[in-house]
């Protein structure tokens, strides 16, 4: 089962307000390691056609790994508002 299909098994209540914002300028200017691209267990980070870092926050499992692993504090990351985000049925 691929990662998108796995995320498809989870219950998400998606907020239109995003809870992860990337300071793309920092990513482009100083980041060599680009940890967010490979540490995320949901594979949500991707460099887009323009070469900019993006995150599909809608599939976020709220583990915080990207936040902890980012070398340059380029992420504005908070929990989704109450009622939103992933809702585990088993946990």
């Amino acid at each position: 089962m691929n990662i998108e299909a796995k995320l498809g098994l989870d219950v998400f209540k998606i907020d239109k307000e995003r809870h992860i914002t990337i300071d793309v300028e920092t990513c482009n200017r100083v980041c060599v390691n680009k940890a967010c691209l490979y540490v995320c267990p949901a594979n949500l980070y991707e460099i887009d056609d323009q070469g900019n870092n993006t995150v599909n926050y809608e599939g976020c499992l709220e583990c915080g790994t990207c936040l902890i692993s980012c070398d340059h504090r380029a992420l504005e990351w908070h929990y989704p508002r109450g009622e939103y985000g992933v809702q585990y049925r088993m946990g």
Binding site: D10, P41, N43, L61, G64, T65, I68, R89, M90, G91
Partner: protein, 429 residues
Amino acid sequence: MEKVDCIIVGGGLAGLSAAYGLASEGLEVIVIERGDYSGAKNVTGGRLYVSPIRDLYPELWKAAPFERPVTREFVTLMGDGAHTTIELASERFATPAYQSYTVLRARFDQWFADQVMEKGGMVITKNRVDDLLLEGGKVIGIRAGGDDIGADVTIIAEGVLGLLSSKAGLREEPRPQDHALGYKEIIELPPGVIQDRWHLNEGEGAAHLFMGGVTRGLMGGGFLYTNKDSISLGIVVGMEAMRQAPDKVDSYTLLDEFKELPQIKPLVEGGTIVEYSAHAIAEGGIAKVPKLYGDGYLLAGDTAGLSLNALVTVRGMDFAIASGYYAARAVIDAKERDDFTAASLAQYEQSLRSSFVLKDLETARYIPHTIENPRLFTHYPQAVSNLMEQVFTIGPGPSKKLSSTVMGGVRKDFLNLQTLKELYAMRKI
């Protein structure tokens, strides 16, 4: 501003345990939880060690929605082309009162929240605490959804990331060196199949850990716990180890690779994946435990760094419940003195120090550094399996004496300077 005796940030195990203790003594307590229900955001391996906490709330465990008591322990050392499984079937583990149980957090935490409410505590779900309210270094309450609520004491049990407490300067921000990523699948299997695969009597459960060959040599391993009608199968991998790896690995692929291994495939055969989840794990050990109290506040559970990764056992849930218990005791006593200053709340740290919580973390002080050694995840699991393979090999031509086979393997893989150095380092753990 509305004011209560105690506000608890986070309705996970630490927060709910504190609330249960406070509500049982009739204090006015509000738990604020951001999930749709308690447990909606929470992930564990997971096995809860009940024996250290049984006497704290003796009445609680009888009706708890545990999955299975763990009566059998399995550890598999994975090598390339050979693996060794150790199976421990202990009569003691298989006799009540059981020392540990597997749990699923969405079920367990919801039940715990119900127990809190039965005691008269309030659990408000679907609400995120946006900020701690501070006044001259004292925490005086919280802000949530534009409302301010005041409290004599705020217990901060917001989990491992500690976003609010670090923002308020009550602890450090989490660092990759002190954290691992844990993630897992829940795979449904019929109870009979689970019992057959792990040699269990009806209703009994197993814990199965996998070392070596699972995380491509990065600090970490695989875990498997049997639930009533599913298994929790996952990976733990160090964040700093991932960041430093010369060959970058997409973390999520480790679990897929793991499931494809010939050792694992038959264990999950025929199962249906029903959920995928991930969470950070604190593993900095005692050296990373922040100051646990101050004017008007206490830190509990993962927020206070109270968790332990000792290679084959991850513990955090029992520490979370115990720290909640002692936090409640400290607040109850502070209320009697009507003194909520740091000096009065210092009792919390004292009781954690004289309990198993900080004692066990102290005993394990050197584990975090020792298990950073990548050879634990590559060389040793491989060497054990190589040795066992040789012992069981009957090739063409005359066999060597068993003792010389064993000594040959031991000499090659275990009796060298590197291993002795590592053993020396391990004496501390």
